[in-house]
Symmetry: C2
Subunit: 149 residues, 2 copies
């Protein structure tokens, strides 16, 4: 059995956060030994899922629904399914945004403009600066133009 400090060390989640999760219902009330929490190592898997969901943009109350938002003892309740479906679509949208953002970063990293001043005339929807027309794709993204400094 692990103390809260052990779990904190092994999961990378501070003890204060673990107590907070317990209070919010994200973690089950831990067994106690003389008032102190004792965890089975299983808890680490649950914490992993909580962290994963957080990275994916779930709020605490959403993770709660995800984990225990059903009362029936039949498989995934309608409520759960609805939430999961909705969330799945949100995740897909978020992935698209993530990829777009990576492309913006990559464009910036590959940029070969010699000065910002070269880069502030044309705004195109894909975010590149296409003034001269020669190697437009490798110019600064216009978002970074001097106009806004």
């Amino acid at each position: 059995m692990l103390s809260i400090g052990d779990v904190a060390d092994q999961s990378g989640v501070p003890a204060s956060a673990l107590r907070y999760y317990e209070k919010e219902g994200l973690l089950p009330p831990a067994e106690r030994k003389g008032g102190q929490r004792r965890y089975s190592p299983d808890i680490l898997f649950r914490i992993r899922v909580i962290k994963m969901a957080q990275q994916a943009g779930f709020q605490v109350n959403e993770i709660l629904t995800l984990l225990e938002g059903f009362d029936s003892n039949v498989p995934p309740s309608e409520r759960w399914r609805e939430m999961a479906q909705k969330k799945r679509m949100e995740l897909e949208e978020k992935q698209r945004e993530l990829v777009l953002m990576q492309e913006v970063l990559d464009r910036g990293l590959r940029c070969t403009c010699l000065s910002w001043d070269e880069c502030f005339l044309n705004v195109s929807l894909d975010g590149t600066c296409d003034r001269g027309g020669e190697k437009g794709a490798d110019r600064h993204p216009v978002v970074f133009s001097r106009r806004y400094r």
Copy 2:
């Protein structure tokens, strides 16, 4: 030229947030007509990028660095490049978590267990319940087990 209300409508970002962004430097100080903000439609592209970066998990001050965190007039400063490199790696990590999370949701949505009680004995690292052994992959993910209700 667009009023702040127009921009709010067209971008989906509340006027109060737009004012906040201006105060924080995310948006350039807008031109004024009798004290009221007037925007060129170009601003919508910038707002799109801000939203994109937010979806991707950038904080406001990070977006600030992204947009104007360089002083030189040579292409992407070292500072910018460092930040972009770091962020790119974070984005990749986040994508992996997103995919994992989708898989957890999908497993839940595909689950065919007849009751939660069927699903609370085995914990495996991939998060599936594999008691009987027949169609293990389609059981409730163990995260959702009764143990924690």
